[in-house]
């Protein structure tokens, strides 16, 4: 489940054998890799330091996170999951699993390595009665058909006896190459060229993504969550049948669509009624996004303000996970109840005349990052079951291309995963996964009430310090950005 790969695999390696290489990967792949590393480390710890003796086969992860996890045990997991929906997701993280026949920094090294790989592991897949195909993949670069053929011909020292079948081969072999192609989008540079050759043990079912990708979704908004990331979030939240999952900033419902795909029941709220109720018409709204994929619709959508949530007193521990992308104000600003002037104290509350009350549109004020995160943690502390998960994005400013991240903390929560997604040179966001490990007590609830009124009294101060939009978009020498992530402005 989630970032736990199992408990069924016997021979996981020790954590210290892992070496994570980040080459020019796209953002979602980076999140995937972090997740994968975490999986393996957790698993190794669980087994009391792991067991490296059972290693038989070396495996290469397509995303160039490679390690010595036995292929058989991973395959075992794959087979087990193949018939369930989880498999699809596992497939999102692990793009493929390969038995590594050789690797090297030059073609000669690679040839030597492949020749040194034991024949008894190679020959069964090279038999005359079998069919095969070789796929050439240069990571981060497109190479021509002609170049591909040249690269394949360069492998003639491998005694392929079978016939070539491009469409439906018995065995697939991959020649993968990474090199510094000049563009790495701000990610750590590739140190040296490396070539890998291996046999595909299992490939992930990536068909899920085209089905759910945003461009084919009927109703999306400017901040709709990318489908792949929404699925990663839902998985981190352990979305499963029988679980109830809540998104307090539901928007067009992207995250709940992913949660519903995994079989969870969903609930969502948003402060903007046009988004949740009206959409773009009767066939283009949050409900229709679920219909489009044949998924169960949310149990509840409502309009409410996470700053002043309408839960009855005494209600707690009802959600199994809260998964969301809070409105931090970089793309869409957060809003909360109460007009700006009202909160400034320059005007008295506007008393809504009786005859206008029914369709009155209350004014809202901007919502600072610190307050937004504080409310979210408070909501989660109260409304999650013990062991329930809070999964959300948290923005961080990058300085000199290095991120110094300090994450929000709460006595009820333990942070179990943080995965960075770099969005620009100035700004990145972390997908944080927290587990509720402490009970929500009267004391914590009282503290939260005090904090809430403190935020309301000092509204202007928080807004000035917590304006992420100007921090991200202002000129680089601007000093206003600093205060945002100071310790004392932390929720």
């Amino acid at each position: 489940e989630g970032n736990d790969l199992g408990g069924i695999c016997e021979g996981f390696c020790t954590a210290d054998l892992l070496h994570l290489d980040c080459f020019g990967l796209d953002d979602s792949a980076r999140i995937a890799i972090n997740e994968l590393v975490e999986v393996v480390i957790e698993e190794a710890e669980k087994k009391g330091g792991g067991n490296s003796q059972a290693r038989k086969t070396r495996v290469l992860f397509y995303s160039f996170h490679r390690d010595d996890i036995p292929a058989e045990s991973v395959m075992h997991k794959f087979l087990l999951l193949r018939n369930s929906r989880c498999f699809l997701f596992t497939g999102m993280l692990v793009k493929g699993i390969y038995e590594l026949w050789g690797e090297g920094t030059t073609d000669d090294d690679l040839e030597k390595a492949i020749k040194g790989f034991p024949d008894e592991r190679k020959l069964p897949y090279l038999k005359p009665e079998s069919s095969f195909r070789i796929i050439v993949d240069n990571f981060g670069k497109v190479i021509s058909f002609q170049e591909q053929n040249e690269r394949i011909r360069g492998l003639s020292y491998i005694p392929f006896k079978g016939r070539v079948d491009l469409r439906n081969p018995d065995h697939k072999f991959w020649l993968m190459e990474i090199d510094d192609y000049g563009e790495n989008n701000g990610l750590p540079p590739v140190v040296e060229r490396r070539i890998f050759f291996g046999r595909e043990v299992g490939a992930a079912d990536r068909k899920l993504l085209p089905t759910y990708q945003l461009k084919s979704r009927k109703y999306i908004g400017p901040t709709a969550m990318d489908a792949e990331i929404a699925f990663l979030m839902a998985n981190q939240g352990l979305a499963r049948p029988g679980k109830l999952i809540y998104d307090p900033f539901v928007g067009t419902g992207s995250i709940l669509v992913a949660a519903a795909h995994f079989g969870a029941m969903t609930m969502g709220a948003d402060i903007d009624i046009r988004v949740v109720r009206d959409g773009r018409g009767p066939d283009c709204n949050v409900w229709s996004n679920f219909e489009q994929y044949g998924l169960p619709k949310p149990l509840s959508l409502m309009r409410s303000d996470n700053n002043l949530p309408p839960w009855r007193s005494g209600l707690k521990e009802v959600f199994d996970a809260i998964i969301c992308d809070p409105p931090y104000g970089v793309r869409a600003g957060g809003r909360k109840s109460g007009g700006r002037k009202l909160l400034k104290g320059t005007v008295d509350p506007y008393t809504v005349p009786e005859e206008k009350r029914f369709d009155h549109i209350p004014s809202t004020a901007a919502y600072s990052l610190a307050e937004c995160v504080n409310d979210l943690l408070e909501l989660a502390a109260r409304m999650l079951v013990m062991g329930g998960r809070l999964v959300f994005f948290f923005p961080v400013l990058r300085e000199d291309v290095v991120t110094v991240a300090q994450f929000p903390e709460h006595p009820c929560f333990t942070l179990i995963a943080s995965c960075e997604q770099i969005l620009s040179l100035r700004y990145s966001r972390y997908l944080l996964t927290m587990v509720k490990t402490g009970h929500y007590t009267e004391e914590i609830s009282e503290l939260a009430r005090k904090k809430h009124s403190d935020f309301r009294e000092n509204h202007l101060k928080w807004m000035e310090e917590g304006n992420l939009h100007s921090a991200v978009f202002s000129s680089s020498d601007s000093q206003t950005t600093k205060a945002l992530f100071d310790r004392d402005s932390k929720p």
Binding site: P241, G242, L299, D305, P310, R312, V318, Y350
Partner: protein
């Protein structure tokens, strides 16, 4: 709006102490199929305010759907008929149009297109 949602919501106007349960006024309601999941029903049962649920079910005119008093939780394991009724009451009855009315102030929170609008006015926060 499902009755599960109704069961969770209260009037949160500043100063209101007795904002629960909200009186349900349903102008239009429908029944919507929801996948039956016994585990979910068992885990949510202890969180439900039974009298509020019974009140809401009756507000929709379904007088015999649920017993007046909350059954012993063991009924969830032994009484399949009850589990189905509970499922239907909690998850399948869906209020499309109407309002939730605060018992203390009489404030109406409108429900339109199945979505309750719980946002407060400026002078209520």
């Amino acid at each position: 709006m499902r009755l599960l949602t109704h069961n969770m919501l209260a009037c949160n106007i500043k100063g209101v102490t007795n904002g629960y349960p909200l009186r349900l006024e349903a102008e239009k309601w429908v029944e919507k199929e929801v996948n039956f999941n016994a585990d979910f029903l068992r885990s949510v049962f202890p969180k439900i305010e039974w009298p509020a649920l019974v009140g809401a079910v009756r507000a929709l005119g379904c007088h015999d759907l649920l017993p007046q008093d909350a059954p012993n939780p063991s009924a969830l394991d032994s009484d399949d008929d009850f589990l189905r009724r509970f499922h239907r009451a909690l998850l399948q009855l869906h209020v499309e149009e109407g309002a939730l009315v605060c018992p203390e102030t009489g404030r109406r929170f409108p429900i339109s297109k199945g979505i309750p609008n719980m946002l407060l006015h400026e002078d209520e926060v």
